[in-house]
Amino acid sequence: MLALALQHGAEAAGHAAVAGASAAEVFGPSTAAWLLAVPLLPLAAWVLQVCFGRFLPRQGDWLPTGALAAAAVIAIWHFVKVLSVGDPDFALAEAIDLPRWKFFFSDPGLTEGLAGFTAGILYDNVSAAILAMVALVSFLIHLFSTGYMQGDSRYNLFFSNLALFSFAMLALVISDNLLFFFVFWEIMGLCSYLLIGHLAADKEKPKMSAAWASMKAFMTTRIGDICLFIGMMMMFQAFGTLSFSELYQAVESHVAGNGGEWSPWLTGAGVMMFLGAVGKSAQFPLHVWLPDAMEGPTPVSAMIHAATMVSAGVYLTARLYLMLSPTAQLIVAIVGGFTAIFAATIGITQYDIKKVLAWSTISQLGYMICAIGAGGVAAGLFHLLTHAFFKACLFLGSGSVIHGCHHEQDMRQMGGLRKKMPLTYLSMLVSTLAISGVPLFAGYYSKDTIIAKTLERSMAEGSLVWSLPFYLLVAAAAITAFYMFRLIFMTFHGKPRAHCSEHAHESPWNMTLPLLVLGAFAVLGGKVWLLDPLHAVSGGQEPWFLRLVHDPHQFVDHAGAHHAHVTAMSASLAAAAAGILFACLFYLWKRLDPARVAAAFGGVYRLVYDKYRFDELYLATAVRGTMILSAFAAWVDKTFVDGVVNNVGRVMRGLGDASAATDLHVVDGAVNFVGEATVAAGQTVRRFQTGRIQQYAYFTFAGAVVLAAVVLFRVI
């Protein structure tokens, strides 16, 4: 049914330019309310679930799931409408009147600074597609969780957190300004924190590693978030607005006013905001949190750390694209490209099934980021969509495997599950084909487009550094294919290698159904080629998404684009084939022994296996440094600041005495902090109080003489 809708939409998009179906006709006045309902339904579910969840039947799991189902229906329904309009430049705000809210002050008279800030809905082709995807994936994962999380000690809270997360992600997608974007972005961070740490607060077996992982995730992404905030402040200060569309115009006119030159600060602001995406999308060098985030329950990994939250960073980068200077674009592309290959290499060496997927996610996000940096906004977002489906499928599949294997995650303990879990196997295989870039599967189209785009850009720029992304991505494609098939072969092929895999069983329907749906999207998400096999094989017609969303800039002409496309396609196909071949050699046909190869590489292998030891590096520098610095600050505060104000040293003695709680000493402690000087002066003064009357007389005479002298001769 969904496939039909997609096809319908794609067809409609094809005709849109001709037919000119007006957006205003398609979207009625209640559109805003419907769109708001998409995030608000999960929000309402969250509120109810938090307050009453544990009293409801089944601990209320149906409440968020149902809300998400409704949200998904609405989102897809509207997405179909967008498809029916089929205008690449479609923006809902231009078609119909959308309400706007004054957030900080409701008084319309105040417009200064943030007082003039208003928030609204941004609904264009991109957000429509992503909204539908997020709603659908979220729903599926909720559904999956109803099975997977059975028996959890905080089952109700898990669903409430999941609902809050869905709300934030859905709201983020339709935010039309950076501030609200940031708000939901951070709420997602909170949910991510809570969900990664879900097992840390488990009532039976609290998992401390999950606590550390959740904190690590929150803190690492927060570094990025703060950079994003700084970038926001820079933009706001310069242009006085945070709305995306107004910022685009402002930047454009600023650059135009500057003679087409991008000011360095704009580059800076762009990079700062991009760093937010680096954190959220786990790009190098803030990638360290994502593998650890696998401490969370598998649905969480699937939803947050594969399909939605991490891709919010990509979405952000896409929204930022028009504000990025060419230099900033290069930085984005290089970061993305480097991350893609960097994470992929680590993926080869991991044995934990979820960790492999995590590194794969980082790598794939690198693709998207790189694409956007290279100017392929549409390509990047396209990959975001397709990846969301197949990566969610892979994660849920791995969850199903883990579930089936009684919570065993090490692939070395698995094997031969193909027979025991056929549905899981099927869906995961399809997804693996997709991620590896095998033609006709969704990932092929998007990945291919990305590589083509990087090549186009490299052709257009002509510089060595701009050619890097292309090569990095192609190499990464080969590695991706290799480690993904390694995963499939180790898990599902061969013979069971351990007790757990011998007794594995297929998961219940509410877990396999989402797998199958997502698997279907992994096949058809890029192009609905089953309906139109001819076009697919000839490659004559563009994938539906690229017809819907156009890149803002074209760097090469049509011929160049064609050339790039062909080159990229061949390169990526070759890479995928090579990767799959090697995987077969190693793990299916056993012609090569991975252990020996690993031994041959020795130190390099260890380094890669240890994730290039970035965790250790950060621990030794940033984390340890901060801890030492804060301990130092606390010490300084206690010793010096307290001491200087209270007058050094004595205070410590005073504190010690105070605890003795004797009358004199306590106040001595207090007296001490007037300062040594005061007390010393008091002591000096008292020394004159000798009790001897004649000495008093001397002092009196001396005092009087001094007074007289001072007054007479004005000594002071």
């Binding site: 703060i226 402040m233 200060q237 804060s630 306590v666």
Partner: protein, 506 residues
């Protein structure tokens, strides 16, 4: 009738409560508590009425003014008034005192004296926010000292005597400087002949004083009074390096007193700066705004770092207050519309979140009788409701969007960025550190393995929840609908900025 003296009623209702409490026999513990609750609750009700009823948010200036002569020989008047700056803080004060009464329910030692002092404290705080006469302001300001001294000193922890006198000493040192400045200002305004203490009149006069030549040691009159007042208020806020009394006072004070201290007493210094310090020395403010902003940044970053280094839960929260009050300084020193509103809102939001944090500390302290973070763990298992409320409070404090702290911090930072970009960027480090130490605390308290000895720790009681929930609701409400508070302030902030036409930065 009620309207004519609404502000006086709000100020002095607790006094009535105090008298009633003193008249009650010592043994009537419940009666004493309920009288205290009633008096502060009534004041809160009147504040709510003021909020929704007679207060006109469209008017920037002073409203509901009450004034009569007090000591005519010195032109001292009893003048009360409320505007957008004082209204949210007044409301906060009434709320926090009301909650504090319930948080004090388990105090049985000398309960009569305790609740009487609590009521007296509320009079002082409410009075400061409403006084529109400098002299009256000072009187209310000082009235708070004694109750606070005894509340910490008698009902505090082990080192309460030290903490109490330290608090008293620092605050008094600040207020005598303010007193000297007040003497100078009054004489400058005309002294015995036609001097005035009326804050608004003084504000109107102040710009002319800037033209004076050197007064003393090469500094102008306005420079002198600016710094005297500033230090006086800075000690209360507290601004680095005058903050050292705060952790000690907090650690030793009983929970409700910590709540009051962090929730509202720190705000008095900030309020004083906006109401008196800056407007009465505009040229000096303009000159030294950068220095104040630097102090603000130091507060934010340094406070957060020191908080990270603490193992005592309460001490950590105390330092987080130091950090959070830095935002106020930063925003106020920027003097932009957004920054100023953000700074003032920060007072309100920090009031709610820090009050909540101290209540959170109190709950765990009441049960475990210590506050060593490293000695907890896994409490989330036994105390899920407590954990939930704690997470709201802590995330509000660390500035999570959707909760109140974010709104004020974001406004402050965005408003200050155009004036002090570098300082703001440095300050963001404080946000990071705040997140770090709060999360680290959550982890050490709630997550992981539950030590055997806490196996039977009960979850929060209804009374404790009743204390925390209002703050949690405010944290969420202001985070989602900030205009509920900001609308009340906007016009006043605009007016204050117009009147104090200084240009800072650039």
């Amino acid at each position: 009738m009620l309207l004519d003296h609404l502000l006086s009623l709000i100020t002095f209702l607790p006094i009535a409560g105090m008298v009633l409490i003193l008249l009650l026999p010592k043994g009537q513990l419940n009666a004493i508590r309920w009288v205290a609750a009633g008096a502060s609750g009534l004041a809160l009700a009147l504040c709510c009425y003021l909020w929704v009823g007679p207060f006109d948010p469209g008017v920037g200036g002073i409203q509901l003014r009450e004034s009569f002569e007090w000591i005519p020989a010195f032109h001292i008047n009893y003048t009360l008034g409320v505007d957008g700056l004082s209204l949210p803080l007044l409301f906060l004060s009434a709320l926090i005192h009301f909650i504090a009464v319930f948080a004090s329910w388990n105090i049985t030692k000398q309960a009569k004296g305790y609740f009487a002092l609590l009521m007296l404290l509320e009079v002082g705080v409410n009075g400061v926010f409403l006084a529109m006469d400098f002299f009256l302001f000072y009187v209310f300001w000082e009235i708070m000292l004694l109750p606070m001294y005894f509340l910490i000193g008698i009902w505090g922890g082990k080192r309460r005597e030290y903490a109490a006198i330290k608090f008293f000493l620092f605050t008094l040192a600040g207020s005598v400087l303010m007193l000297v400045a007040m003497v100078a200002i009054w004489l400058k305004s005309g002294g015995l002949e036609n001097g005035t203490f009326d804050i608004l009149t003084l504000q109107a006069m102040a710009p002319a004083w800037g033209a004076d030549g050197t007064l003393f040691l090469g500094m102008k009159f306005t420079t002198w009074i600016f710094w005297f007042l500033f230090i006086g208020f800075a000690i209360k806020i507290p601004v680095f390096p005058f903050h050292t009394w705060l952790p000690d006072a907090h650690v030793e004070a009983p929970t409700p007193i910590s709540v009051i201290l962090a929730g509202i007493l720190l705000k008095l210094g900030a309020y004083g700066m906006l109401r008196i310090n800056f407007p009465l020395a505009p040229d000096a403010f303009q000159q030294f705004a950068y220095a104040i902003a630097v102090l603000g940044a130091i507060n934010i970053v340094y406070g957060a770092y020191v908080a990270m280094g603490q193992t005592d839960f309460k001490r950590m929260v105390a330092y987080s207050s130091v950090s959070h009050m830095g935002y106020f300084l930063l925003g106020a020193a920027a003097w932009t519309f957004t920054g100023l509103n953000g700074a003032t809102l920060q007072l309100f939001t920090h009031g709610t979140s820090s009050a909540m944090l101290f209540l959170i500390v109190g709950v765990v302290y009441d049960r475990a009788h210590h506050r060593d973070l490293n000695d907890f763990g896994g409490l989330g298992k036994r105390m899920p409701y407590y954990m939930g409320l704690s997470i709201i409070g802590m995330f509000a404090a660390l500035g999570l969007p959707g909760l109140s702290g974010f709104i004020s911090e974001a406004m402050t930072l965005m408003g200050s960025y155009e004036v002090y970009p570098v300082l703001v960027i440095i300050s963001t480090l404080g946000i990071l550190m705040t997140a770090a130490f709060l999360l680290y605390a959550i982890q050490r308290i709630f997550l992981g393995k539950l030590p055997e000895k806490y196996e039977n720790m009960p979850d929060i009681s209804g009374r404790e929840a009743f204390c925390m929930v209002p703050f949690a609701v405010l944290c969420i409400l202001v985070g989602i609908l900030p205009h509920l508070v900001l609308d009340k302030m906007g016009a006043t902030m605009e007016l204050i900025r117009e009147q104090l036409a200084v240009t800072i930065g650039g």
